[in-house]
């Protein structure tokens, strides 16, 4: 099963329309899409506007491949559970988001080899044709980097600043 998600209530029709056309053209019946609050009705996809967290998890874990907006929640989950993921960033310039952070995230994580990115509709169509060959990237663990965990832990219990010489809290009274 291919699980498509726009991540939030905000629609991302530009991505879903391309996937809908692709499913229609190829006859794929095993695509489920979470599409957000939108007037657009896919013709070739099973879909739902929203998913409660447990339903999201169930679809995610059953999926062989994820196609999603460039949201960190979805990307982190794909890396952790070793799901091949194709992402398309939302664009603030097209009213799909408040700022361009998804574009920046997608570029950086793509350079780091963490995800495959389709930056526009044409690229998404090409990537969908090759979807069967998409491989999961290097698995990440269940938790943040040990340095971050230890730094936070020390700070929580002793107030020792992890990055400041002397370790004094910057705003201590």
């Amino acid at each position: 099963m291919i699980f498509v998600t726009v991540g939030t209530d905000l629609p991302f029709d530009r991505m879903v329309k391309v996937i809908d056309e692709w499913a229609g053209a190829t006859g794929r019946k095993d695509v489920f899409a979470q599409i957000g609050e939108t007037e657009f009705r896919p013709r070739h996809l099973a879909f739902s506007k929203f998913l409660e967290p447990p339903d999201f998890v169930r679809n995610f874990s059953q999926a062989s491949t994820i196609v999603a907006h460039a949201g960190m929640g979805t990307i982190l989950s794909a890396l952790r559970y070793e799901k091949p993921i194709l992402v398309m960033p939302r664009r603030a310039s097209l009213g799909e988001q408040r700022n361009e952070h998804q574009l920046a995230t997608a570029k950086r994580l793509s350079e780091m080899g963490k995800i495959t990115v389709a930056f526009d509709e044409a690229e998404l169509r090409r990537c969908l044709e090759d979807l069967g060959r998409l491989q999961p990237r290097e698995k990440i663990g269940a938790h943040a980097s040990p340095a971050l965990i230890q730094g936070l832990k020390d700070y929580i219990h002793s107030g020792r600043h992890p990055a400041r010489p002397g370790g004094a809290p910057p705003h201590a009274a």
């Binding site: 967290p53 943040a144 971050l148 730094g151 929580i156 219990h157 990055a163």
Partner: protein, 156 residues
């Protein structure tokens, strides 16, 4: 500053909005071991993620709706006033910003871990919180500055 009075565990409030902010907050959990933890977030559906930890639902808001922002601020402040945390930690966004502000006013030690999604610059709430968070972190080394935000590691 003594956040862990003798005889009881550190009370920690961990607050975020939904989606990626929540997933990142969960990835920090080993850091909260040995604390009495209460999570505050925007969806009842996340309750099953937290096991035995405390869990409170707060209303979501963002910059586009000032009235909702005000409501979120009031609820977050009230919840933290009741919890009396020693430490408040957040991964963003708007609810977390208010959580840090309220925590600071209530005398808690405050920690902001800016979202890993902010690759080119800190989010607006992440920039503004720098003056209020005792520990102000970015997850990207190239965004760190000598006076903060600091870089220690990331959720990746």
């Amino acid at each position: 500053m003594a956040p862990s009075p003798a005889g009881r565990r550190v009370r920690l409030a961990a607050i975020s909005s939904g989606g990626g902010h929540w997933v990142q907050l969960q990835r920090l959990r080993p850091a909260f071991a040995d604390c009495d933890v209460t999570f505050l977030t925007v969806k009842e559906g996340y309750r099953s993620d937290v096991g035995d930890a405390g869990f409170r639902v707060i209303p979501d808001a963002n910059r586009s709706n000032k009235l909702k922002l005000l409501r979120t601020a009031l609820v977050v402040f009230w919840q933290l006033f009741r919890l009396r945390p020693d430490v408040v930690i957040s991964t963003g966004a708007a609810p977390g910003y208010f959580g840090i502000r309220a925590g600071k006013l209530l005398g808690a030690r405050t920690i902001w871990v800016d979202s890993v999604a902010n690759v080119e610059e800190l989010s607006m709430s992440g920039q503004r919180i720098g003056a209020h968070a005792d520990l102000w972190l970015t997850q990207w080394p190239h965004l760190a500055r000598p006076t903060g935000p600091f870089h220690v590691g990331s959720v990746l």
